[in-house]
Chain length 250, copies 2
């Protein structure tokens, strides 16, 4: 049956996965002061969840996360940041997990897919207008604003919370985690907007400029940005070399 | 044979582990401006490595890391921070891993312990004078200064590098990652010494005080510290409530 493709593939063993471990992806989409998160729903189950996937035996863990996201978005160059391992024995929620397995036609409680999972959490920050959600045979995908996220499968609500608190902390030292959201040159107000949306509060203009320049990741250019009706303002840019170095380190 | 206890226990199945996944612990010991790292060596193998362990089927991942460290140090309250998953297919180093297995008397290449491992990295920052290294039947343990770390088993040198770069980044936003190293009240110079040792450079006294107080995790007390021969200086303290909240979040 079509609707059971994913799980049947695993059960029948025609894909060769690392057992008991998965990747869960929290993709935050930003555009015009709005922050959203990408959620997935299997057609045979009623709850939304994060886009998830397994790791193939001959595949790096980071590559598995990229594959999981490429399948859903078509994007090759999403910057996925590994942020936490969710490894409590009570997850996934046993009742819900059994329910999904039953609906997918899998009743063998001994099969590894019915048992404990340790999940590696990844987050990404993208411009949601640039993402083309893929139509998948057995899965719906949709952007949700943060204030309209429903009760999700298992512990996925708390995984999103954890990703958000991680991003908020990282913004303070690594402004380049949002560099995919901006053009090469930008007025600093655009970067401040991203901060204000993610942090959920207004920031003082002068303090923001002082702090962001002190990180060394953002540099002020010798160019002026003019927009009709607005005061001319300086343009800024990420220090790509320093950013790439720091990102490859994380 | 005594020397093969650990691996034989796994192979014989008398301990029930999650397969293909391990925890690797990087314990940094600080004292009097010296930073060291705790390393382990199985008596039947010639290379040093990080203290490692498996995760039991009925055990949370964080609890496994605590058990691994308690076994080696006797300490219950080491604050272990999960910092990265090492999940490339080329690890552990196949040649070295086979060598360890062969020396331990395990030649079955099909057994999961001979195959790919995904490792969850944890770090801790402790006062090394307060750690009593345990004598284990099949394993030696020793503190190494950072500049005397030898070539370690598999990718463990780069795991230490990654832990160190993580700590250096985190110090900027979370000074409380080193609060186990200080008494309840301390002159700020003691905290600055820890920073200088970990960052490997001198810091400006006034800038340091301004920055550290701006995080809100450290507060200045209305008390003066007097030591014979030294200028009286203010005492400081961690804002425990705020620190605990932030640590439970990470």
């Amino acid at each position: 049956m079509k609707k059971k493709n994913v799980i049947n593939n695993v059960v029948n063993g025609d894909l060769n996965y690392q057992q008991g471990i998965s990747v869960d992806c929290v993709v935050f989409g930003f555009h015009d002061r709005m922050l959203k998160v990408l959620l997935s729903k299997f057609k045979f189950y009623h709850k939304w969840m994060l886009p998830v996937g397994f790791i193939m035996k001959d595949e790096d863990v980071d590559a598995a996360a990229c594959r999981v996201m490429k399948k859903r978005t078509g994007l090759n160059d999403i910057y996925l940041h590994q942020f936490h391992v969710f490894g409590n024995t009570v997850r996934p929620n046993v009742k819900e997990h059994s329910d999904v397995m039953r609906r997918a036609g899998l009743v063998d409680g001994q099969h590894w897919i019915s048992q404990r999972f340790i999940s590696i959490g990844y987050y990404a920050l993208v411009d949601y207008l640039k993402v083309n959600i893929r139509n998948l045979a057995d899965e719906d995908l949709r952007w949700f604003s943060l204030n309209e996220i429903p009760m999700l499968y298992s512990d996925h609500n708390s995984i999103i919370e954890k990703a958000l608190s991680t991003i908020r902390t990282q913004l303070r030292v690594m402004p380049m985690i949002c560099y995919k959201l901006l053009p090469e040159k930008f007025p600093l107000s655009e970067l401040r907007n991203i901060y204000e949306t993610i942090l959920g509060k207004e920031l003082d203009r002068r303090n923001f400029q002082r702090k962001i320049l002190s990180t060394g990741y953002v540099i002020q250019l010798d160019e002026i940005y003019k927009k009709p009706g607005l005061k001319p303002t300086s343009l800024f840019s990420f220090n790509r070399e320093k950013c790439d170095e720091a990102l490859s380190m994380t």
